[in-house]
Each structure stands twice: as structure tokens, then as C-alpha cells.
Amino acid sequence: MLDGLTCGAPLSVAQFSELKERAVREAFKWNVSDGGVDTLLDFPLLLTRALWRMLSERAVLLAREAEAAEQELLERPVLRSLLGVPLALQRALGRTRSAPGLRYSRFDFHPTQSGEFVITEGNLDAAGGWNEAGGVTSLFAEHYPDAEPVGDPAGALAAALARRIGPHGVVGIMHLTHYVDDHQVARALAHAFRKAGLDSVHFDPSQLRNAGARAAALIGDDVRPLDAIFRFFPADWSCRLVASGRWFESAARPGTLWSNPLATILTQSKRFPLVWGRLATPLPTWSRLLPETRDPLLVRRNGWVLKPAFGHEGFDVAVPEAMERRRLDRLWRRARLAPWAWAAQRNFGPLALATPSGFRYPCIGVYVVDGQPAGAYARLAERPLIDENALGAAVLVQS
């Protein structure tokens, strides 16, 4: 059992039902159910203030070290080429450095059987969970008078953007508009931006254009210049856009602030640890918290978890305890054939937590916005793999 981490008492059926309805309306959490099953748990995770302080301090250090490593990697193309970043994007990174950046990240902490917390990666390029960590968490907090949210990442991002681009600035929220799970995030962020006095525009990555020194969004027939872009679109996908050359050109405009800048893809790579030994940048927090990582050609399968260099939502992550042998074999075969696109990570022995729904494997995502801790939300899974089947849970700190 871990010190400082417990579960709150579950809400009654009526309370939870009302909370979900409010989550849909007030927090833009439209997918409160999937396949007829709730996507949220009916209880929050409760952290002691000491545990929150520890996790948030670590997250801030991780973000700081990653940014320093990213700057060094931008200067070292040979090391960069080992990260599995698509070639076209690698070439574009030099040009897009001219665009200023405002960084946010989310680090997912997993409790281990040895009583520690580890991370398995950094979500430094594009991270979700904004609706859950903000509006949904606030709704849960109303039912637990002895606990409170640890922050609102969307509000923190909006405030940081307003500081950088000034009031009434225009923020383009780039996302796959036709995918409503992504659009609900865009709507929640637009709501937060509006509260901070910012204007926002929803647009698909294919609508990115430029207007003089600024990047812009093609909206109808108008090219609308943008003061900032919130990119909810993984950088590694940009190479697959039909006009990627033109896209990178727009992304290099110096008059638009990017959150996140494209260079965050370098530390997002699961292969990032493979170049640590050759970096001058010290990475003590990463070294302490991330399980050992190796090239998949250099390990035997037992005791290792296989991950795509740029996977999303746990897709194609090979965890022996969480999948059938045939699928595991297929993933390892793919990794042996194209090792540059994969990383092997030592299995760290995750700890299952006793919850009102039975034993669940938790991970606590801690947001860092512009160098400051900004909030948290958790996901809990029945298997030792956090993927799209994991359920969301609010994170509250005990006051």
C-alpha cells in the first residue's frame, strides 16, 4: 500500500448520474460513456498534500530537463536521427525553431510494488485529459468537502497564453475537427481561453496557412492570422499531411506562439533515453524515474515492455501480462524488423490499488504549464496497461 494515495467514497447512483450530466454540459465531456459503459469512475483518487507536492515537483523538474535536452538535440542532428522522428519532420525542425513556444506537458506517474512512483514516458508533444483534469474534477470536488482540486490545466494554459500574447489575442486550436473526442477538448479549451479574454478559432491541421510573419488558419475564404496556436495534433503526423512542405513553412513563422512547439517531439519519443548517454544535458530526474530503456534488438523479451517510439493511448504497447501471446509475438516481430521505430522498457512491476471497484492499476497524470504544476487527473485500468480501456478518475488533494 502506498502512503498518501487513497480512494474517496463512491458517489451514490443519483449523484454520479447528475455529475455525468453536468460533465457533458459544463465540462464538454461528451463521451461520458463508451459502448454503454461509463468512461469515468464514480470516486476520486485522494492524495495527501505531501504526495502532491512530491509528484508536482518531480513533474516540474522533468519538464525543465526535457526542455534543456530538446535544445541540445536541436543542435545535434546525428543524435536526433536515433529518436525515430520521421525524416521530413527532422529536417523541418531546424526551420521551425524560429517560432516561439509555450510548453505544457503531462507526466503519468505509476505506483510500483516497491512503494515508489515511476513514469513510463513524458507526454511532451500533445497530451489530452484537459476536460477531466479541469471541469470534471471541479464537479467531483463539490462532493468531497475535505478535498480540493490541485489546479485547472486549461485555466493555467489560458492565463499563460494571455500573458504572452496579451488580452484579446487570437488562439488557433488545431485539432482533428471531425473526431469529436478531440473536438470536445477544443471546446473546453476555447471556453477557458474566452474566460481569460482570448479569442479562439477551431481548425484542422490542413487549414494551416501563413499571413506575413504569422501563421494563420483558413476559415471559409478568410485567412485569419493567429497570435498563438494550441496544437492538439501529434507532430509526427504532420509529415503525413498532403501539403506537409507548406505546412512546415507556416509553422516556422516567427510571429505566432506555438503550444507546443514542434521540437517537443524529440523528447516525446520513447527512444529519448537511448541518447541520454551522449547528451551533455544532465537528466537526473528522468534517470531516476524512468525505467531502463533499450533498443529492442538488444534485449530478450522477458521482463521488458515494448513500445512504439510514437504510440498513442497505449496502442501497440506490448505488455506480457496484458495481452495474448500471438499479439505479443507479432509486435516483437515488427520491432525486430524496424527497431528504429520502437523502444524496449524494463517492466517496473506496477502496483494495483484497492478501490471501490476492485483492484485497479492507477496512473496519475500531472500537468506542467509554462514551468508550473497546473493540475492532475488519473486513469485506472484493470490490466497493467493504461490504454483506451482505462477509466478516468478525478484527482483531489486532501486539505
Partner: protein
């Protein structure tokens, strides 16, 4: 009538199908604007209703209306008077300059909520799932438009076991096309393999035929890879290459 009450009626508090009702369109409801546009005249010819109703005769049947949005809603509401429970499955958002015009659909959501008797059938009433066959209408939407195309995923629909547990043994897909769209076809395959009787009702000819398994998956994947236009979500909800879309019909 507020947007909240419209949503409440369509979702149905405590209704056994409410967990499947998709929510994004309700967030786009501007009641005042819709009221101004209201023409209040949404006829569906009786013969069509009777034809679809007849396809469901004999055994407890779930209907899936994959027709152009407003047509699906009108027919769904009309079928509610024959004992069905309309379940909105349209997972699209709506904004200015949208690729798929949702205006009529939004108006029908408000109009439908006025027919409260459409949502008061007993809990065991069979569902009529309302889709919009325009969801993948253009493989390359007009530049600058708000891309609100969408895809139905297998996890969006009730599973085979849920349907069977609720006494449903047949699923009838009502559509105007020769065969179901790729995403709905995946759902139909799952239902067929799960032991449900899956039928396809042709809206234009008013004929019913059994759903047949499509060509092998590896061949379709190969063909899809040849025409992939860019990244999006895969059929199973994960990130990857754009899912196959066919041109509009109906």
C-alpha cells in the same frame, strides 16, 4: 424550450439506451436561431413507415437508420409512434461553415423533443438507432470548411451481447446505398458473427435482403493502403491512417 430540456428528452433519464445517445450535437443547439427558422412541417409518407415497420415484424428487432440526417430523424420519430425508442447516434459536431450541413438535423432535435410521446414507450421498447449517411460524404472537403465528418465505431453501438440480453435477435439496417458504409459494415459483421440476424433494407426500393460478409479484411486493408490520404483515427478508435470513406448517396 431550452437546449437542456431538448437534451434531457432525447437522452432520457434512466432510459436503458441513454448511455448510447451521442451528445456533441446538443452542445451546438441555438434554440433561438432554430425557432426563427422553424417551419414545423416534417412529413414522412405513411408507406415508408409501414415498409420499415414490416421489416421488423415477427421478432424483436433493432433498427439502424443510416439515411441522410433529417430523413433518419423524421423516420425515427415516426417509428416511435409504432413503439420504438429513438436513439441518437449522430456523433458530429456543428459549427459555422461546416462540411456537413447539420441545420435541419438540429431543428429536428428541437422539434422531436416536442413530441414527448416519442420518448415514452415502455423500457423494453426496441431501439431505432439514428445515423446520418452523409457522415463520410466527401473524401476531400472544401478548403476552409469546418470538417464535421464522423465515423461510427463498433464501440459506439451496443454489443451483440447487450442486444441479445435485451431480447433482440434481428438488426435491420435501413439505407439508400447498395451496401452499408465501411464503418457500419464493420458493426454489421460483428453482429452477424455474434449470432444476430442482420438484414439490409433498401430505402429506395423498399426491399429487404440478408447482410452478407464483405471481402476478406486483408484485401480491403491493402486497397485502403493504396489510397490513404493522411492521418486520422483508425476504425478501432486509435490514431493512424484515415479510415476508408465512400462518396455520399441518398
Amino acid at each position: 424550450m431550452s437546449y437542456r430540456s431538448v437534451q434531457d428528452i432525447w437522452v432520457g433519464k434512466g432510459d436503458r439506451w441513454s448511455a448510447w445517445v451521442r451528445r456533441p450535437l446538443f452542445a451546438a443547439l441555438d434554440i433561438e436561431e432554430i425557432e426563427q427558422d422553424r417551419d414545423g412541417h416534417y412529413p414522412v409518407d405513411e408507406a415508408s413507415i409501414e415498409a420499415v415497420h414490416a421489416w421488423a415484424a415477427g421478432v424483436k428487432t433493432a433498427l439502424v437508420l443510416d439515411l441522410p440526417g433529417s430523413k433518419a430523424l423524421k423516420l425515427g420519430l415516426a417509428l416511435a409512434t409504432r413503439g420504438y425508442r429513438p436513439v441518437l447516434m449522430i456523433n458530429a459536431s456543428s459549427e459555422a461553415r461546416e462540411v456537413i450541413n447539420m441545420r435541419r438535423v438540429l431543428a429536428l432535435l428541437v422539434e422531436g423533443a416536442r413530441y414527448t410521446q416519442a420518448f415514452t414507450n415502455p423500457p423494453e421498447a426496441p431501439p431505432v438507432f439514428l445515423l446520418d449517411s452523409r457522415r463520410g460524404m466527401a473524401s476531400s472537403p472544401e478548403e476552409g470548411g469546418f470538417d464535421n465528418r464522423w465515423t461510427i465505431f463498433r464501440s459506439d453501438m451496443p454489443s451483440c451481447s447487450v442486444l441479445k440480453d435485451r431480447g433482440i435477435s434481428r438488426v435491420v439496417i435501413v439505407q439508400s446505398a447498395a451496401s452499408p458504409l465501411g464503418d457500419l459494415e464493420a458493426v454489421a459483421v460483428a453482429y452477424l458473427r455474434g449470432g444476430l440476424d442482420v438484414q439490409v433494407g433498401d430505402w429506395a426500393t423498399r426491399t429487404l435482403r440478408p447482410f452478407e460478409l464483405p471481402p476478406r479484411a486483408w484485401l480491403r486493408r491493402f486497397l485502403r493502403a493504396l489510397v490513404r490520404p493522411g492521418p486520422a483515427r483508425l476504425d478501432d478508435g486509435t490514431y493512424g491512417y484515415r479510415v476508408e470513406r465512400r462518396t455520399s448517396h441518398g
